[in-house]
Amino acid sequence: MSKTITIDGKAIPFTEGQTIMQAATAADVYIPHLCHHPEFTPHGSCKLCTVKVNGRNCSACTFPAAEGQEVLNNTQELNSDRKTITQMLFVEGNHFCPSCEKTGNCQLQAVAYHLNMLDDHFPLFYAHRAMDASHPEVLIDHNRCIFCTLCVRASREHDGKAVFAISGRGINKHLLVNSTSGQLKDSDLDSGDKAAHICPTGAILIKHTAYQVPIGQRVYDHHQINEVSLASEHPHGE
């Protein structure tokens, strides 16, 4: 007997041990997310995936599904608050989409479109953040890092390395590269590593590939992130 939860009133089957996010994805239900990636240990930090479980806010990417849970996901209130959280990520860093190579392929931007975010709402922080162009193949623009730790997890869990780490407390959070100089060129990152390709924003970019796909023909220029996400993250790989 498979167990079920409901999401927005619809019955969703799940197996013991699955998170709400996993159950939802398997049933073709999109829950907005940024720090979640099906291949890596859930992290639960961006809070975009917040859903109401029996009336309580929970992170869908970390919260275990349990028989009979009533989950609210696609509600006006949640989406409006998710938009506010996305605006927080935008003002914290320096995101000038028109001049960013990732535009159109960026999940942060795509989530913002999806949630109908039309402005920053909050004052910008104008954080002083550096670029690291030292590596021959891979570029880091710290201005666009949202601390999702996907690169950290990919390096550790997939590549068997520890190229990246998140350091600092509170608003001083920042991405560290694990090398004596602190520069990417002195780390053991290889451009073929998963960690070099996982960034949801334009913070980690592969060099020499810029604008090979013209603006207007990029992933999110034609598809909403919910479609793209379900197509690529579905457990059966459809």
Binding site: G44, S45, N57, T62, P123, F147, V177, N178, T180
Partner: protein, 595 residues
């Protein structure tokens, strides 16, 4: 340095979960964590260097940049400010010729602010190389400046500079009875372990750290886990501004606290316990070690305790300046030598805590009360207090009153009765439960101290009518932004935005709509944050906005919109470069109806 680090790593068995202790030792010796130490420790402990840097950058008392040989920190808590801290720190900076937040050019001394040091009843307070300086005055600062300039080693400083008083003002059942060593443990074994857990259940004892979870239930859950390696942890992080009762309990009732931990260990089947002591209480470290040794010598810790075939011991771990480490799962991370970032739950610590094993985390006072219940039984305890809140609560009272200090009250006592006892007059309001708690106004002094009315982990800060509520809210809001661990977006970005939005209003740049915007931001931070820190960070604003909306409204300008961006200020650099000071080089922010 190499020999020192090798010796240090060896002392700690080359274990990465002692990284915080190791880095504390490096900081104490070199006044920062030098680059070669990072490199050497990465090798010795087999860790990525980024993990070491991560720890250093997380904890306030660890530094990548050299600090002075005398590291001076002055508490920026609201009560210290009320006692004239601002004037004192400026005076100190002036006398020492060092700016706040900097190191003097000769490297001898550094000066900075720090969060509440747990000395609010004897402020203004500070720390020098981790040791407490109390009741600071200009005269004392003159002495300190001379001692520093003469490079006098700390052990030769006059001891009255470091005097910390208990200030126990009112005792009730817990504080008035001193237990003999081993009494609770003997009673536990005499009655039987399961029967003692039943007594704790009958007592209705609830956690004293704030949340009020039933202690017996927590212990039972832990004891029923299939994994048999289990741990007991005493939470002595006591970081909530205005709380200092755990400091007094550990100074004068430590034996009973350790006894409570040992009773817990017997019940849940733990062989190892930890006391997580906040870095600010470094001065208690040695005396507490001595108490532990006495207990070992008396056969109350170690192997075969009281001949019952029960083995248990307690180790002390020091924090390093991070309020978030009071949150139990962050505390466990910190015990494991990591950054204090709250874990995702479930699993809860009772099922997967320290090193992934079932762990009970309780407050200092909870263990103290549990030991008393083990001796005197559950009915005795349950006869005191109210229906849902049994027993007594130990308060740390500070702020505007004649007799700040420690007060023990049965639950159900009214705020007015407490104010009368401590000599508080012309009271404007009371912050119950610290910044994360509630600000109550003078209309509410008939309310009661109880989980079902006004809950508090122990903080009780009194403000008289001369105080400005918005200054208080401002201090608390800045505190949370400073202490956010930064893990989740709503808290990391939200607490900084709250600070900005509140500053905008308090500084008189707010306009219609700004208070509503502040309130909705508060709701978002409260409802979406990962842990209790973020979930309560907006309380200072929300609880005062509900009571004194007119205070906020009065700060607003009579224009419909004021941008957060200050156009004229942004042009300051350009004016300086162009050497222009005329009126035409200034821009008005908004149109004509400027007040």
């Amino acid at each position: 340095m190499t020999a020192f680090l090798q010796e240090l790593a060896k002392t700690y068995g080359y274990q990465a979960n002692h990284l915080l202790a190791i880095l504390r030792a490096v900081q104490a010796r070199y006044h920062h964590i030098p680059e070669p130490a990072i490199e050497a420790l990465a090798g010795l402990l087999q860790l990525p260097r980024s993990q070491i840097i991560g720890i250093v950058e997380f904890y306030s008392f660890l530094h990548l940049q050299p600090q002075g040989q005398y590291e001076l920190l002055i508490s920026d808590s609201i009560t210290d400010q009320m006692l004239g801290k601002q004037d004192l720190i400026s005076y100190l900076a002036d006398r020492l010729q060092v700016s706040i937040g900097a190191v003097r050019a000769d490297g001898l001394v550094s000066l900075a602010n720090t969060s509440c040091t747990g000395l609010c009843d004897q402020g203004p307070a500070g720390l020098v190389n981790g040791l407490p300086l109390t009741q600071l005055t200009r005269a004392k600062l003159d002495v300190i400046v001379s001692l520093i300039n003469a490079r006098t080693p700390l052990p030769e400083w006059p001891s009255e500079l470091f005097a910390v008083h208990d200030n126990i003002q009112k005792t009730d059942v817990l504080l008035s009875r001193t237990m003999t060593m081993g009494e609770a443990l003997q009673a536990t074994f005499d009655r039987g372990i399961a029967a003692t857990l039943t007594e704790i259940d009958r007592a209705g004892l609830r956690g004293r750290g704030g949340a009020g979870f039933k202690t017996a239930m927590k212990w039972r859950f832990c004891s029923e886990e299939s994994e048999t390696t289990r741990y007991v942890v005493c939470n002595a992080d006591e970081g909530e501004p205005g709380t200092f009762k755990d400091r007094v309990l550990l100074n004068s009732y430590a034996d009973q606290v350790f006894e409570g931990m040992t009773v817990c260990a017997a019940i849940i089947g733990a062989r190892q316990g930890f006391l997580y002591l906040r870095g600010e209480y470094l001065f208690l470290h040695e005396p507490l070690q001595a108490v532990l040794q006495q207990r070992r010598d008396a056969g109350l810790l170690g192997n075969n305790i009281l001949g019952q075939g029960f083995d248990f011991d307690i180790a002390i771990c020091l924090g390093a300046g991070a309020y978030i480490c009071g949150e139990e799962s962050a505390l466990i991370e910190s015990l494991e030598g990591k950054m204090g970032i709250p874990r995702n739950r479930p699993p809860y610590p009772v099922t997967q805590g320290y090193l992934g094993k079932p762990t009970v985390v309780n407050n200092v006072e909870t263990f103290l009360a549990a030991a008393a219940v083990a001796v005197q039984g559950g009915d005795w305890f349950a006869s005191i207090g109210t229906g849902p809140s049994k027993g007594t609560k130990i308060l740390s009272i500070c702020g505007d009153c004649a007799c700040p200090g420690i007060y023990e009250y049965p639950f159900g006592t009214t705020i007015q009765a407490i104010l009368d006892d401590c000599g508080a007059h012309d009271v404007l309001g009371v912050q119950v439960g610290g910044p994360s708690g509630t600000f109550i106004s003078r209309q509410e002094f008939d309310r009661k101290l109880a989980f079902e009315d006004l809950a508090t982990g122990g903080s009780f800060i009194i403000f008289n009518a001369s105080r400005n509520i918005l200054d208080i809210v401002n201090n608390f809001t800045h505190f949370f932004a400073h202490e956010s661990c930064g893990f989740c977006t709503p808290c990391r970005v939200g607490t900084s935005l709250l600070k900005k939005q509140l500053d905008k209003i308090v500084d008189g740049h707010g306009s219609a709509g700004d208070v509503a915007a502040l309130e909705s931001l508060c709701q978002l931070v409260k409802n979406y944050s990962h842990c209790g820190l973020g979930q309560t960070a907006a309380n200072p604003i929300l609880t005062t906005l509900a009571r004194y909306p007119e205070l906020y409204q009065a700060k607003l300008k009579k224009i419909s919109y004021e941008p957060g961006f200050d156009l004229d200020a942004a042009l300051a650099t350009a004016r300086r470069m162009a050497d222009r000071h005329d009126a035409a080089a200034h821009l008005a922010q908004v149109g004509e109806d400027y007040e």
